[in-house]
């Protein structure tokens, strides 16, 4: 392909991979349409810049569409009760926080949020630990019946929760553990989803790195902690988001397992709201906003690591 040298150098830094920290080149100039082979360097760069702007516009437009329901949720939550009619609108007359006041008056919001947060945080930490250990075990240890055991792990994802809650409830009642924080946490101590996610990432770490560490005298535990896990940070960050979200949003099991109001979690509080204020959408939506924001924060915190990737590994 008759690629101009300038174009070739410029393209080398551009697509498919991105290290935020490595940005020595300015974004707009790195892209050159390699498929437009005949262009002179300058016009190639102009059209590349145009393409980049169009791509950005398309992505940003899509993002606006994605954000719309959330924005509408926020806007409904600050719309006065009297103005709630017709379809979703992005314009608010007389915004008010009265829905939030009503929310805080009818549900012990702080307590409920703290409960949800404590359970979600504990479940996330436990899943990171149990998941990363298991992922290493399935990827790096050889033992008989490994694929059978892994199949059993995955099988735990294949039965609808709806039929597990009754047996689980009976079992925990016999163990005298119902209506406790532990009951809320129990089904989320380990998750096959997270183990599978991390295993796929660990499988992608070259085994030569383990070998090298082993020659240096490292055992499995050290290879797990110091070689493999640091290299699968993006997957761990993704697991943090999904594990937190799973626990934070879980509804059916807490509904069955919890009786004391002091242990109520956020989804239970929200469903109470929906029963209480069937037509007060602003209050229901205020509750939704309170439930969505913490996960967005967790996501923003994790996003850096999801993307940071192999920034300093010196692989291959």
């Amino acid at each position: 392909m008759p690629e101009s040298p300038i174009g070739a150098v410029a393209v080398a830094g551009a697509p498919g991979h991105s290290r935020p920290a490595a940005g020595t080149r300015r974004a707009g100039t790195t892209r050159s349409g390699t498929t437009r082979s005949g262009d002179a360097p300058r016009s190639g760069q102009t059209s590349a810049r145009l393409g980049r702007v169009l791509l950005w516009l398309a992505v940003a437009l899509g993002a606006a569409v994605m954000l719309f329901p959330f924005l509408w949720t926020v806007i409904t939550s600050i719309t006065p009760q009297a103005n709630l009619s017709g379809g979703p609108s992005l314009i608010v007359n007389n915004p008010t926080l009265s829905a939030y006041a009503a929310l805080f008056a009818s549900v012990p919001v702080v307590r409920v949020v703290l409960n949800s947060f404590a359970v979600a945080a504990a479940s996330t930490l436990l899943q990171l630990l149990t998941g990363s250990l298991a992922a290493y075990g399935f990827s790096r240890l050889a033992f008989k019946g490994k694929s059978f055991v892994f199949g059993c792990y995955l099988a735990t994802l294949m039965i609808p929760l709806q039929v597990l809650v009754a047996p689980l409830f009976i079992m925990l009642t016999r163990m005298r553990l119902n209506d406790t924080y532990f009951a809320l946490l129990a089904p989320n101590i380990a998750s096959a989803f997270g183990i599978f996610l991390l295993k796929q990432a660990v499988d992608g770490v070259p085994k030569e790195l383990d070998e090298a560490a082993r020659l240096d005298g490292a055992g499995h535990l050290r290879i797990w902690a110091q070689v493999v896990m640091p290299l699968v940070r993006p997957a761990m960050a993704a697991l943090i988001v999904f594990a937190f979200m799973e626990s934070w949003n879980s509804f059916l099991w807490p509904l069955v397992a919890i009786r004391s109001p002091e242990l109520m979690t956020l989804p239970l509080g929200l469903s109470y709201l929906q029963g209480q204020f069937t037509t007060d959408w602003n209050i229901v939506m205020a509750g939704s906003v309170v439930s969505i924001l913490p996960i967005v924060v967790v996501y923003l915190f994790a996003q850096k690591h999801i993307i940071a990737g192999m920034a300093h590994t010196g692989l291959k």
Binding site: H17, A58, G87, T130, A134, S147, A155, L157, P234, I307
Partner: protein, 316 residues
């Protein structure tokens, strides 16, 4: 920890208990077993107690007539016989399958497109990524309301646009033929961010040197995507496909809030039926039996994928 413990795993598995007469080999096998326990027990124990035990309990329940209040009554395989001969069962499974056929290609292609686009150096990339993730955490109640409005047959935005283009305007979620496609659209839209996060974390692990080398060899952007990025992304793709199928077979929430299984059962899916059986008609036995039929299907589909992965998934 001594170096002797860090045994070569393949060597350890070759040891059968009866041949392991030399004490060194025996000790190696034992120490390998110790490592397997150390890495797997933290996840295996909670999964066994809180997932697999209730699963077995539900299998036991499936052989009984039980309304979750009075004692169980043994009826053997009657629940299964009844379900397998009922046209309703075939109906809910065909709806589930139809949902999957629409949802999976849509959500994967969309998620891949967004992940690749947002892996480039774009202005405000972090904000855009977060925007695509927000629907994943937005509650189905809010999402369903917005989509019901967007797809409203008489005054919705989508039909308005279709009318401008002189295209047919379907009745969407109010029309039996269009109810499932409506849910497919909303679900794919909501889960786009989930696929994006997994694929983005997979994109980070592709060594950038490979891309650079290909660029030096004159490979265009399109060829680099199909010959490098896509194959090296296959472990993430595999994860997305396996998990989306496992979850998609158990689709429920969105049907419940968007269509309620209607109109007149046209969008009733397997777990919707399980939910109704257990919590509306008090037939926990039949709900469990239907869950196990669903389990068998998901297990078979997943097993086929696990077998097939060697043909197309590239691990390091």
């Amino acid at each position: 920890m001594s170096r002797a413990i860090a045994v070569q795993p393949d060597q350890a598995i070759a040891v059968k208990p009866d041949q392991a007469r030399p004490s060194g080999r025996c000790r190696a096998a034992l120490s390998n077993l110790g490592w397997v326990l150390l890495f797997l027990a933290p996840s295996a124990v909670p999964l066994l107690v809180f997932k697999i035990a209730p699963m077995f309990a539900s299998a036991w329940v499936s052989l009984h007539r039980w309304n979750m209040i009075s004692p169980m009554e043994w009826i053997g395989w009657d629940n299964y016989a009844e379900l397998l001969t009922s046209p309703n069962t075939w109906q809910v499974f065909s709806h589930t399958l139809l949902y999957l056929l629409g949802y999976l290609p849509l959500v994967y292609a969309g998620g891949l497109l967004i992940a690749v686009a947002l892996n480039q150096r774009l202005r405000a990339r972090g904000v855009l990524r977060a925007a695509y993730f927000v629907p994943v955490v937005t509650s189905w109640v809010a999402v369903a309301l917005v989509w019901q409005w967007l797809l409203n047959p008489s005054n919705g935005l989508v039909n308005y646009l279709l009318g401008l283009l002189h295209l047919p305007q379907p009745g969407w979620w109010t029309d039996p033929t269009w109810a499932i496609p409506s849910v497919i659209l909303a679900s794919a839209w909501k889960d786009l961010g989930f696929v994006m996060v997994i694929l983005l974390s997979g994109l980070q692990t592709i060594p950038q040197e490979i891309q650079e080398a290909a660029t030096m060899d004159g490979a265009g952007r399109w060829r680099r995507f199909w010959n490098i990025t896509f194959p090296l992304l296959s472990p993430s793709t595999f994860f997305v496909v396996v998990i989306s199928l496992i979850n998609g077979f158990q689709v429920f929430d969105q049907m419940y809030v968007m269509t309620g299984g209607g109109p007149s059962g046209a969008s009733q899916v397997a777990v919707g039926r399980i939910y109704d059986l257990a919590f509306r008609y008090g037939q926990a036995g039949q709900a469990s039996a239907l869950s196990w039929i669903l389990f068998a299907i998901i297990l078979a589909v997943t097993a086929v994928q696990m077998r097939g992965q060697r043909k197309w998934v590239n691990y390091a």
